[in-house]
């Protein structure tokens, strides 16, 4: 088991060395990056918006129902929702969800290319297949994840703003006062830094499991599952490390 972890880690870093080597043709890579931004980033906007709306609404209700002390101001409901979204939910929880959506997509795509010899085909042409396939995905996800985070915070707050007053948990004016109260801009900076790291982890780990798959369709499916599980664990580990280091 120990040998396996060292072996996999070594192969991951060896692959990353190949990924970050000089591209053959910059214009082709640039085109690939824009394609990946569309495929992996823009096509995730819908799911991020929906999940965040519900997440914000549910968070608002949870805070409201647990605030039984009448001495506490109701504005704390909006504040609690805002800070939870900014600090953890829109970065880490969204990271875990994106590891499932984007990560499995990347592993399946690269894994399928591997088992159908498309990657060998690139190598025979003299193309650095690791760099050509993986680098644009890493750049696209690292660029897009902070934007998805901001979008998630926005929709989360809107979700709370709709659900809280609608069910009578908090008035609109109390909620709005709460989300404006004691705002700490550094929390956003901190979470944006986390998003850059999470974006890299999601794209690189998923690519690694796709690129190293051997066998057929069954193995590609198994690799996708392994990629999502490992990415989730690494996101949580790095969340802990970054929170300790940066907060």
């Amino acid at each position: 088991m120990q040998m396996n972890i060292f072996n996999v880690t070594g192969r991951y870093f060896a692959l990353m060395l190949r990924v970050f080597s000089r591209p053959e043709r910059h214009s082709v890579y640039l085109r690939q990056i824009f394609n990946e931004i569309e495929n992996l980033g823009l096509k995730s906007v819908g799911i991020v918006a929906v999940i965040s709306l519900f997440m914000g609404g549910i968070m608002t209700l949870q805070v409201a129902y647990n605030m039984t002390n009448p001495l506490l101001p109701r504005t704390l409901i909006g504040l609690g929702n805002r800070d939870s979204l900014i600090l953890e939910f829109s970065s880490t929880i969204m990271g875990l969800i994106m590891a499932g959506k984007i990560g499995s997509n990347i592993t399946s795509e690269i894994g399928s290319m591997k088992v159908t010899e498309q990657i060998d085909s690139l190598e025979i042409m003299g193309v650095n297949s690791a760099s050509y396939l993986i680098l644009p995905k890493i750049i696209a996800v690292v660029l897009m994840f902070p934007l998805l985070y901001i979008l998630s915070v926005f929709f989360g707050i809107i979700g709370g703003m709709i659900v809280g007053p609608a069910v009578g948990a908090v008035t609109l004016s109390d909620y709005v006062s709460g989300i404006q109260y004691a705002f700490t801009p550094y929390y956003v900076t901190f979470s944006l830094m986390k998003c850059l790291v999470f974006g890299f982890l999601i794209a690189s780990i998923a690519s690694f499991f796709g690129y190293t798959v051997e066998g057929g369709a069954f193995d590609v499916g198994a690799a996708s599952t392994r990629a999502v599980v490992n990415t989730n664990i690494m996101i949580l580990v790095w969340d802990l490390i970054l929170t300790q280091l940066l907060l």
Partner: protein
């Protein structure tokens, strides 16, 4: 010309190729034949560098591929074209984009010149009205032909084909064989084809290497193959009784 000298390859302590030597000539269709599991795909993939050999040399016009560093290998690979068993076309690109891909990556041609070259290659393989289709929308035979077009678009000096007829009907197989042979002769390239299809052997086998259990067993051409007294080769060739009959008929004629 490609020359392999004493090539040795093993996987997990199992010897797959043992001291195979052979010269593959320019302007000829060179065939590697053998039973399934005999090591012919491993040999082909070792020649193109997808597998690293553990012993021996692979020489491309006297340039030692086995001792080259990554940079020189990448340069040499731009002189190669390969047709994979399943075609290995890129799913996300159209037929035309697949063929243009090597040009986009490595050539400095203008877009118009690239288009001209792509059109020429697609015409060469008799594909005229499928340019904008994706690989999933075309037949197996067409996929092979597009793969051949992509393999020759950079005017390679070396062409490799891994089981080009697998999964194809006999008529389409003949078309693919004829196409590869004519490209080889017209462009004077060194072509190596890995096959176990005896029809291909008899149609285009200019220079044949027969391997069995990872060892070179026999070499010759299509005219000699029916009359060889090599026991393993006979078992392979005459597994199909049709060829036994052809040989007997020819012997009777003589």
């Amino acid at each position: 010309m490609i020359e392999i000298k004493n090539v040795f390859k093993s996987f997990e302590n199992k010897d797959v190729l043992r001291n195979i030597s052979k010269v593959f000539n320019q302007g000829e269709t060179n065939l590697i034949i053998g039973r399934s599991g005999s090591g012919k795909t491993v040999l082909l993939k070792s020649i193109v560098g997808l597998f690293e050999v553990e012993g021996g040399q692979i020489l491309y016009d006297n340039r030692d591929f086995t001792s080259m560093n990554t940079k020189y290998r990448k340069e040499l690979r731009q002189e190669m074209g390969m047709v994979f068993q399943g075609g290995a076309l890129f799913d996300s690109l159209t037929v035309e984009e697949n063929v243009r891909f090597p040009l986009d990556m490595f050539s400095n041609l203008s877009p118009m010149e690239k288009q001209k070259q792509v059109d020429y290659c697609l015409e060469r393989v008799n594909i005229t009205d499928a340019n904008k289709l994706s690989p999933s929308e075309i037949s197996g035979g067409m996929k092979k032909r597009v793969a051949i077009a992509r393999a020759i678009v950079m005017n390679p000096k070396y062409l490799f084909c891994d089981e080009p007829n697998s999964g194809l009907d006999p008529e389409t197989s003949l078309v693919i064989d004829a196409l590869i042979h004519s490209i080889t002769v017209d462009l004077q390239i060194t072509t190596i084809i890995n096959t176990h299809d005896m029809n291909s052997v008899m149609e285009i086998g200019d220079n044949i290497l027969f391997i069995s259990e990872g060892e070179k067993c026999w070499e010759g051409n299509r005219n000699e193959i029916l009359y060889s007294d090599n026991q393993k080769l006979q078992e392979f060739v005459f597994a199909n009784k049709q060829y036994q009959k052809i040989r007997d008929d020819k012997l009777n004629d003589q």
